[in-house]
Subunit: 151 residues, 2 copies
């Protein structure tokens, strides 16, 4: 969401802020934007990431490189996200999502269904992603896949 | 770990307590013990669980039923756990693990490699599991699988 369209953060609930951070992550993914991906992650050595079928990536440098690699090998991606649960506990939050990821890479069209746990931490009022665990789901997924992120 | 062998909680760091709760979860799994599994989970409607290849389970009742179903269909299970990361943020914590799960079910021996994100919350000084996301890993796993839980 472009910053000029964001609602006034003072009027948003913490849950709305977490969901906005979660959406910012998928917007970064759809836009194949390293700049947006760098803005949503907390750039610490202890952040972690599991892409579907990948081994655990440890630390921001490894996580950043993985996104760079994915973006360089992808020409188009659309993600339909279904939010299943949001839980906030003090300065931590996690979101469970289903994703239908449609990609074009090396002229091949592919569509995968993914189950995701996204963990966020709050710093100075802003929620940052600190953990992303995505794993393959049997297709089709069990519930409304939600709407495509593109407005 | 039998309670008489537990260290004095007052002398343990929060990280040690989280790791103990994490081990209690795997002990419950190995012992096929609903009583131990019930003791480690926070029994709330918002807890969540993803078994490898399953859809998301929502709420303690669904989570409890899944473990009961797994335990009833399993005659033997051993889990080798590798701890990859522990992160504590206020009253939340999460642990990344690799698991090698060896089972005997319906007279068939099976061995699977799993990547796990376990989330805990602290209540009155005790850490409870609130989220378990387990997904299949390509075998063999990339690092020291750790030692078998059985002492």
């Amino acid at each position: 969401m472009p910053s000029e369209l964001r609602r006034n953060p003072k009027l948003m609930t913490e849950e709305e802020k977490v969901l906005e951070a979660n959406q910012d992550f998928y917007t970064a993914l759809q836009d194949l934007s390293m700049e947006k991906m760098e803005a949503i992650w907390l750039q610490e050595s202890w952040v972690r990431c599991v892409h579907p079928g990948w081994n655990l990536l440890e630390g921001w440098e490894a996580v950043r490189e993985s996104w760079q690699q994915i973006f360089e090998n992808t020409t188009f991606v659309r993600v339909a996200v279904g939010i299943q649960a949001v839980r906030i506990e003090n300065t931590s939050a996690w979101v469970c999502c289903t994703e239908k990821i449609s990609t074009v890479a090396e002229d091949r069209f592919d569509s995968v269904y993914v189950q995701t746990t996204n963990i966020f931490e709050r710093r100075n009022g802003t929620w940052y992603m600190v953990h992303h665990h995505a794993s393959a789901l049997p297709a089709p997924w069990p519930q409304d896949p939600g709407s495509d992120l593109v407005q």
